[in-house]
Symmetry: C2
Subunit: 560 residues, 2 copies
């Protein structure tokens, strides 16, 4: 046994103790670690084998409290370097935690799930490897960001759109896909748009999914299932492989696009609204996700916490919120979505939507590029005419409008600074700036009753812990609604880290109990994944088979 001074910080258990049951890899001595580091440096060069304390501390910092440690950051340049890195990790049984760009805001950023890890930062692998305008796909490495792809498409005047999440232009495409994130266009279910991956397995072997594994395959980028077992799902939300390349389908820009926006004055309108929208999603009339945000969510996109109006007290109580939304002219719920097609197709969809929403929502507005331009220019006279403060609304609408067309935006990131007392800096970094953010993302059937119950449960619990219940409901597929609850706070306020985590745990437990399980989990919640059937055992068998030394991201989505 090494002496304590000889030991690398090892198997640190997160503050809440929930990951205490994770069996970590054999202890590594400092000597062994130094040996591994020398080998990694030989592969990557000293510039890309980072051990300075400032960088490591940054990598250990998320938007909530964590105690896991990062002992080095490796920045491979290509797939073969990734293979070398993981082979060395196997030799010394040192856990490796891969991130694409690490912008997993609200779910743990770059911080490993358990213990002490090497961070494998894939950000240098940022090549767009293949692109087809005709067949509408792009093949990318993990470091390619949504902003980069958007610029790439703009630069070549492509007729294709990507689907962007609200996580900002610097967010990795692959990172978001692997977490099964979602966006706003008809290609909003990101994992459904994947067609073939290159994966480095935990042993260092390389595998390709779909047809790409065969020589000269013509169909690797266009037909996703390949032949034989389809393994893509195995690598999403898992610790079974490191995705080093992926083909993602892109959406042809429609001849015409129109966004719609609406409001519900009262909370009681939510349930009938969901019931009305479901058949339109199911029939394909609405082809994109519809996004519905409550008042707290809307205001956190418009401004920071109203410290003045509230005299500095938190949380923002529902009655104060009501006053604010009356003054700022928005509803209990505000919705948005996009219509895509020819002018006539859009006109018909608009007719159907207008008919369906009659009497169910207020201020149903349709905007296209022309009217949005006009609105910006004539916001003031428009307000006189309609009483609607368009300028304020446009501030909120413009990024949503962009997202509906696949334009990435940093705007939603500003809401991470909701509880801060200084405004967001021009270069936002929620990890660095002490923004507190925990996201909880339960899913329910797309039914009014379920959506309302989920939202009410979340509101009650968050207010009870002194946080504002900023909630969005996204009609993410034709049959389900995903609720994203943000617990936003200031990490620099004493006690808030603990309070927020307690709130999160309470919320997750209550939602799970009602059967509203989350589609995605933060690093602090992986241990919630205990199945009641053979799934867990099966997953563990697969993990043991593909990662015999347990070096790849132990504990991630609960395979250890």
């Amino acid at each position: 046994m090494p002496t304590s001074v000889d030991k690398i910080p090892e198997a640190a258990v997160p503050g809440d103790g929930t990951l205490g049951n994770i069996e970590t890899v054999t202890e590594v001595t400092a000597t062994q670690f130094e040996q591994a580091l020398q080998l990694w440096t030989a592969v990557l060069g000293a510039d890309h084998t980072i051990v300075d304390r400032t960088s490591l501390a940054a990598a250990e910092t998320a938007t909530f409290s964590t105690t896991q440690s990062v002992t080095a950051i490796l920045r491979p340049a290509d797939t073969s370097q990734v293979q070398e890195c993981i082979r060395i990790a196997n030799r010394f049984r040192i856990p490796v935690y891969p991130v694409s760009t690490g912008k997993n805001w609200g779910y743990g950023s770059r911080v490993p799930v358990a213990g002490s890890s090497i961070l494998l930062d894939l950000g240098r692998m940022n090549q767009i490897l293949d692109f087809s305008e005709e067949l509408a796909y792009v093949t990318v490495e993990p470091g390619v960001t949504q902003g980069q792809l958007h610029q790439f498409l703009q630069a070549r005047k492509s007729g294709l759109w990507l689907d962007a999440t609200g996580a900002g232009p610097d967010c990795s495409l692959i990172g978001n896909v692997m977490e099964r994130g979602f966006g706003h266009t008809p290609y909003g279910d990101h994992f459904a748009q994947v067609c073939g991956m290159e994966v480095v397995l935990p042993t260092g072997d390389r595998a390709q999914t779909g047809f790409a594994r065969f020589p000269n395959a013509q169909t690797a980028a266009v037909y996703k299932w390949g032949v034989g077992p389809s393994l893509d799902g195995l690598f999403s939300q898992s610790n079974l492989g490191i995705v080093t390349r992926m083909t993602i389908w892109l959406m042809p820009a429609p001849p015409y696009f129109q966004a719609f926006f609406f409001q519900c004055g009262e909370d009681s309108q939510l349930a009938p609204l969901i019931e009305t929208l479901r058949p339109l999603r199911l029939s394909g009339t609405l082809r994109s996700t519809v996004h519905i945000a409550n008042d707290y969510k809307v205001i956190s996109g418009l401004q920071q916490y109203p410290w003045q109006e509230t005299g500095g007290s938190v949380p923002l109580r529902p009655d104060t919120m009501k006053d604010l939304r009356r003054r700022l002219k928005f509803g209990a719920w505000s919705g948005s979505g996009g219509l895509y097609g020819t002018r006539r197709q859009v006109a018909e969809t608009r007719r159907i939507l207008r008919d369906a929403l009659k009497g169910k929502v207020e201020r149903l507005q349709f905007l296209d590029d022309r009217t949005l331009g006009l609105a910006s220019r004539f916001a003031r006279p428009y307000q006189l005419l309609t009483g609607w403060d368009l300028r304020r609304t446009l501030e909120l609408i413009r990024p949503v409008y962009g997202l509906l067309k696949g334009v990435p935006t940093a705007h939603p990131l500003a809401s991470c600074y909701w509880r801060k007392k200084t405004p967001p800096p021009s270069q936002m970094d929620p990890d660095r700036d002490g923004c507190g953010l925990l996201w909880c993302a339960p899913v329910a059937p797309m039914e009014g009753e379920h959506a309302t119950r989920m939202a009410h449960l979340a509101s009650e619990i968050l207010l009870g812990y002194g946080f504002e219940p900023a909630i969005s409901l996204t009609l993410i597929t034709e049959r389900s609604v995903c609720c994203v609850v943000s617990i936003s706070y200031d990490r620099n306020e004493p006690g808030q880290d603990e309070q927020a985590m307690a709130c999160y745990k309470h919320l997750l437990g209550a939602l799970n109990e009602q059967g509203y399980y989350s589609y995605r989990l933060g690093i602090q919640a992986m241990s919630e994944l205990s199945s009641q059937d053979g799934y867990g055992g099966l997953l563990q068998k697969i993990k043991n088979a593909v990662d015999p030394n347990g070096v790849l991201a132990p504990g991630r989505y609960q395979a250890i």
Copy 2:
């Protein structure tokens, strides 16, 4: 070592020898087999433990030559019996080959991939377990057929449609989904419509995929990925588990439906046609698969081989085919598809389609329920007016029209009798009736050049072996086209089994060499699946981990 007389027929290698490399399970003595049989009988009862030679011989018969043997047929009634059956198989290391209803025509029917097996026939498990009109899904057992589901929906006057394949009303829904079959409506990619499975693992454990593994999950049937690794793909086209329950999404019937049909007089029109249709599929204007059949495919749907016209000689030469199609008034290629939506949505799609196809196809016709009814009544006067022999065409059109609305039909099954000299019986059974059929189903990018090259390659090869190249091209997804090539023959003609198999091997090899790999394989071709990267090794590791005794369908999609 048991003596030879003591041995159960074991590890028979198929005629072509390609599966000779499959390492089979330890040899089983007759005594051991008898012991296992007693245990199975205790679980299932004697009625459902079938060992009579007639039944076994039927189960060993496909639409092409095979030598694999079936030593007993087990017919479990529920999931727990499936678990018991597989546990007993493990104890004696006897291979088990599960089928749902076994109508895997052209790909091997019920015949196991390798050696000697127990057939696990899941046909008795034919319950529709759950159904939601509002959320548009159904949960079924493996014995539920497409005909049964169609009747179920009709009986309750449901507003939902299933997506049916051409394999006939008696084909299992789950069986087709697990082979990743496809149909004709916007829900045509069957595997994409799966939302959660119950699986009996090779060890007898039970696992559920998606959210169903959690207690009280509300979202098991509506959100497919669940949380953590998504394992559905692992069980499709594989031998890693026995699916005993599945939720399948259904399509809401549109307010209005119209089918379209068109023809291309010349083969040279195919490439520009594909180029024209691709943007319409990509943009979502055409939401369903488009099906394009060559002249040989069309005629095999209308009649049997023209023995008289040809004086009994085979194959039907292209010039004779040309004469025939002039006489019967159809083109080199005939296409069909569906338009779904409100009347105005359909009208706009029709306008776009008509504009796009102008000058590219002939006889573009749109039919709805009313015009189809009228056409049937006024076929004769219609012919006088337009010169189009509607009666003959209607015979072919009616089943296709039905499939576009999710109505299963036995009609395409009749084409299995193409080369027979007696007409198809009322109860068709291609296995029993000595119909020869080998299907080869390569996929290509949806581009004119690829579609044409695939079709020409197949035509040349089949004619060279003396078979008619009946070919369909299905625009199966937004970016890919699946070519289904039928090698149809009469198994009762001496030498034809061997000739057809040689033709198939030649065809598959040539297509693979061009990079047009098949989306699905028959039992005779599983050994073609040798990857050039780590996929094969990874799959084998998973197989060994979940099926340590190798009892489940050895060799299926090449995991042994």
